[in-house]
């Protein structure tokens, strides 16, 4: 399993990437650089946009470190604040939570459904599980496993991937941080166990917000 420089008439996107990694000889590199200004211009531009995004948003490469108990304790106090406030902003968005409680949710009107933009700031490293829990027992695990890594004090966004459907009863958004990733089945079981009132499970590693529809 390896990439080699293409031998055809025109270099391709992989040649461009190999050149960036220093994997081509000088003659091949010159050929690819010329193509990056001509037939590979779109590829070079796309790679440039990815480089800008990576520079702006990529997290440092490191594995979760041991828990930081002092930070978890501090957040436990903050998380005791009620999270059910919701108000419409002048921009038409509805917001819940805030910096004080470590979990914020912005509800943006969508064409078909409202879209939840969720942000959370964990106090310790680990993995996040995100779910919605309905009072009728229906649980939707939105994020689980190794999808969303948490780093102490670093905001995590779960942006633009959760939409509110038309459920008319009470519903809660629950975010849980664990040291080891929770698999979907275990996550669903744990989330269902928070009923009848998930809010009573708030703690240093569990954020709960009741979703209020207008």
């Amino acid at each position: 399993m390896t990439f080699v420089a293409s031998t055809g008439d025109a270099p391709d996107a992989i040649d461009l990437e190999l050149a960036r990694l220093g994997g081509l000889d000088p003659a091949q590199t010159a050929r690819v650089e010329a193509a990056a200004r001509a037939e590979l211009a779109d590829e070079a531009a796309a790679l440039g946009r990815a480089e800008a995004l990576f520079a702006a948003r990529a997290r440092p490469l490191r594995t979760p470190s041991p828990r930081r108990y002092w930070a978890a304790g501090a957040l436990a106090v903050a998380a005791a604040v009620a999270l059910v406030a919701l108000w419409p902003g002048s921009d038409g968005l509805r917001r819940m939570g805030g910096a004080a409680d470590g979990l914020s949710v912005e509800v943006r009107p969508g064409t078909a459904d409202d879209v939840l933009f969720v942000g959370v700031t964990p106090a310790a490293d680990g993995w996040l599980t995100v779910a919605t829990v309905q009072e009728d027992g229906h649980v939707s695990v939105l994020v689980s496993g190794e999808t969303l890594a948490a780093r102490a004090g670093a905001p995590v966004d779960v942006d633009g991937q959760i939409r509110l459907d038309g459920f008319a009863g009470r519903e809660w958004l629950v975010v849980r941080r664990t040291d080891a990733p929770l698999q979907p089945g275990d996550a669903e079981q744990w989330m269902r166990g928070t009923l009848p009132d998930p809010a009573t499970h708030r703690g240093s590693d569990t954020w709960v917000m009741e979703v209020r529809r207008p």
Partner: protein
């Protein structure tokens, strides 16, 4: 490779992997996670590439497998529907010469086996040439062509059924 060498590779090759993950997943946050996950696997395993070409092919393969897991996991969740809004993510994908909606093509990933899905992610989502997909998967170009046709048929079947 040492941890320091892999961190250096992350700095150089991270944007390449991020772009590919974005093409497959369609969302920045998920793509950033999948990119980091890919390099964390390199840190945890005995990753000893002999050339930049081998590094890059391994990164493609690992990221593609990770993104397939994420996409299939998302499809299992009833309320989660992906919103695509990034300029690196097209709304339609070319499936054997036909422009198909991204949502339909993503759905088709769930109905094919893993090898076919990997070929689809490489050739349809990432638009890699057949020869490059064959290099990543360590199979013949003929195999890639066959799997791509199988996937195209799965997309057409899904289209007819909906």
């Amino acid at each position: 490779m040492t941890g320091g060498e892999i961190e250096a590779l992350y700095a150089r090759a991270g944007p390449i992997v991020l772009r590919r993950c974005l093409q497959m997943l369609g969302r920045e946050e998920a793509a950033l996670d999948a990119t980091q996950w890919t390099f964390l696997r390199a840190l945890e395993g005995s990753f000893e590439p002999r050339s930049p070409g081998e590094s890059l092919a391994w990164l493609y393969r690992t990221a593609t497998r990770r993104c397939l897991t994420v996409l299939r996991d998302e499809r299992r969740r009833r309320d989660l529907r992906v919103v695509h809004h990034h300029d690196l993510v097209p709304e339609h994908l070319d499936v054997e010469g036909e422009a198909m909606s991204r949502d339909l093509v993503e759905q088709a990933l769930a109905s094919v086996d893993e090898r076919t899905a990997e070929v689809a992610l490489l050739t349809v989502f990432q638009e890699l040439p057949v020869a490059r997909a064959a290099e990543v998967l360590d199979v013949s170009e003929r195999t890639v062509l066959r799997e791509r046709k199988t996937f195209a048929q799965a997309v057409r079947d899904l289209l007819e059924a909906t």
